[in-house]
Amino acid sequence: MSIGLYIHVPFCIKKCLYCDFTSYLLDNEAVRNYLVFLIKEINLYGSSLADEDKIITSIFFGGGTPTTLLVPSFKMILTAVRSSFLVSPGCEITVEANPGTINGAGLTGLRELGVNRLSIGVQSFQDRLLQVLGRTHSGDQAIEAVQLARKAGFDNLNLDFIFGIPGQTNYDWRETLQQAVEIAPEHIAAYGLQLEEGTPLEQTVRRGAISSCPEEMEAEMYQDAIVFLTTQGYNHYEISNFAQPGRECAHNLIYWLNRPYLGLGPAAHSLIKGVRFANDISLDGYCDHLSRKEYPIGHSTHITPADEMSETMFLGLRLTAGVDLNQFYQRFGRRAEEVYGSAIADLDGKGLLEISRGRLHLTAKGLPLANVVFREFI
């Protein structure tokens, strides 16, 4: 069975104020160390996985900030991947990029290595909001980054945006969306800001120094994004994701369809053969494991058939097309309408969920309230 490959690059020039993901400040020695052990990890899986489990249909470099790495580093990694795995033709290879850390030569280099999709973290075009988020770049730099990417030959771009930023107005958000559409990326992700506990931004809000975006306003912004982007030719295919036809992100679809993926690098997550596991979150711990020729796994959970069904539901329902009920039946030998009969009936009654053309999916009302629906499938 083919898998998706996720490679975590845990370095940043500066950590964003809302981020609670594993990342370290860029440090040449740490990067060298990381590369050595990442290659070891790639080889370890290359020598242990059966050939049929090594077929890679997508590669995603996420972070951190992958573009803190230089082109030769990407070359090393991709060469190792290609020699250890079977990278299928047409494989989507995405690199997440921060507008502050890219240049023309670098992008051309990535393109030459076969990277065919760039995901640029724009977040907002308003500099004052970028400051609130603690981003290192300006709105203009983001526009420039897109131009550079086009010039380097990227014809598949995603731009990430955040709404619900403290201090953001509905007008700010509409303006950002308008500008985004003018640049015409193939894919747009619009995320509601999550104030994760312990992050500097969350602490600032808790102290009362700035106030979080009211729920009503965030709901309006979300609604605005859906209406505006769909009229501009983007297909709203997942709760937070919009794509021109045929440009859906192949890698992320693997998560939502609950299919296998392998995560490499510290803190990366995997789902392989019914086991979810996560690598050691610290770079040191990760390297230690590999230096002893062990898998660098921090913890793992065996997924029971019941878990797998529940995850297939709450992940699949993130897609606006929903869960294909026949496919569910083929996968589990049971019908979702039976396993979750009362939940489905209840949520249908509340107007949050419906079945049409053999698929169970969220309604327009259900989209912003997805957690209310997902809870019932736990």
Binding site: G62, Q194, E215, A219, S240, G263, H269, L271, A370, V372
Partner: protein, 602 residues
Amino acid sequence: MEWKKERIRNFCIIAHIDHGKSTLADRLLEYTGALHSREMADQVLDRMDLERERGITIKMQAVRLQYQAGDRLEYQLNLIDTPGHVDFSYEVSRSLAACEGALLVVDAAQGIEAQTLANVYLALEHNLEIIPVINKIDLPSADPDEVKKEIEDVIGLDSADAVLASAKNGIGIKEILEKIVEIIPPPSRPADTPLRALIFDSHYDPYKGVIAYIRVMGGSVRTGMRVRMMATGKEFEVNEVGIFKPSLTSIDALHAGEVGFIAASIKNVQDCQVGDTVTAAAKPAVEPLPGYRRATPMVYCGLYTADTVDYGDLREAMEKLSLNDSSLIYEPETSEALGFGFRCGFLGLLHMEIIQERLEREYGLSLITTAPNVVYRVTTTEGKVLLIENPSKMPPAVEMEMIEEPYVTATIMAPKDYVGAVMELCQERRCIFSNMEYMGLHRVMLTYDMPLSEIIYDFFDQLKSRTKGYASLDYEVTGYRQSDLVKLDILIAGEALDALSIIVHKDNAYYRGRQLVERLRSLIPRHLFEVPIQASIGNKVIARETVKAVRKDVLAKCYGGDISRKRKLLEKQKEGKKRMKQVGSVEIPQEAFMAVLGLGEV
């Protein structure tokens, strides 16, 4: 062996919380060799974990010490422990009745507190000899002279001979023991009377049944004897007589003047009431010992399980707890909102909190507790008198001629700098000023008449916080008085929630209703629909708030395939939902039912 009466001393210790009673008791045990220090878990007399955590004594204990005094004679000293909290003043009075003397322990830095004073007065009423002990003299802030003066001014006791002690560091222990022998009189020599023994405490033992703690006043009791409880009339055959060393130790008989226990296969703690008199069935005493009364609960609340399927577990837990606590009263109750539960009566707020905590801690129950209330006395237009223990059972206004509520005399002691703050609080709480007195130079004693319902409504916490913890409070119920009271109902999504009804004074109704709906708004989570919350008196809505409908509840990002984290979050949300009470279509968190108590926090 039968002890000579002259060598027996029965005494107790009167002290405010934290003034060092338990530590002193431990030192006395240690010094007399009743226990070696290494066998002692700290503070032996406070046996329940909860007591140790809170530093207070809830359940009384007793212990017999053998002490060789300076006159080289061996004495039997019976230390009877007393609970140090206002809720348990009847229990205190019973253990005082079992003694001839008391140690009055006062913190050398803090001085006398309201509760101590109340208990000293009780002790004086029982003609007890009082030995003042000024404890914690080694503290830098200790001011024994000021405390001595306070003892003389306030209590009128000669404090020249007060023992200066530090129980913590073992200072003054021998002097205390010598004073006990010297000053406290031996039990009066009774004529050859029939058996009369005072029950001052009991506990339930799963093998022996109820263990009654007794002080023999006259006659003697021995194994095999048939005894009668004079208040209940129940008879039992004594199958064990013993003393506390402090573990239960069997002996042949207890004689007049002695303290110990009897076990008689008593299955029900209600048959062995504190304050009752044990007499011989064959040759009963004519009169019981004075002072017995049934414990009357002052405070009631509803106890329900968060999940109705746990009702059986709650019932079982209540049965077990009440085995050991004859003052805990409960009866089944059904709430439209909360389902099956119990209306429980307690001696006071602390008693209530202790029971709730034990139910949750020892029996693993997830409880919903309604706000506590007092017992109201209603006279109907037809002239009937009803006692109302549950606000939702209050008859409609038109059927009531008069409502009365219990009043107390409250004694508050505080450093003089806080008098203003105390008076301000009392003015807010319908208190009627009756007296103010200086105790020494720095402290003041204020006396008020006030409704008990104001005391149970967050009064003590407020008093503590407004006086930086320096004030102490004691109160005594004086009787019922007519008040202008109304029932305040809470409607959630248009439906009255019986469990949230409260009785308030008419003048406060608007304010309390306003606060309550505001607090409920902040506690009730957003639903898929708007949830109106209203406070009403009769049919008139006096306050309204709305919990807005949920507009957005969705996790945007799936960080690098971290599904476990998402699942955990959803599980947590689901768990939180499960702990809520579903009332109609609205889910209400447990805290909401106590919301009426936390109004200060809004």
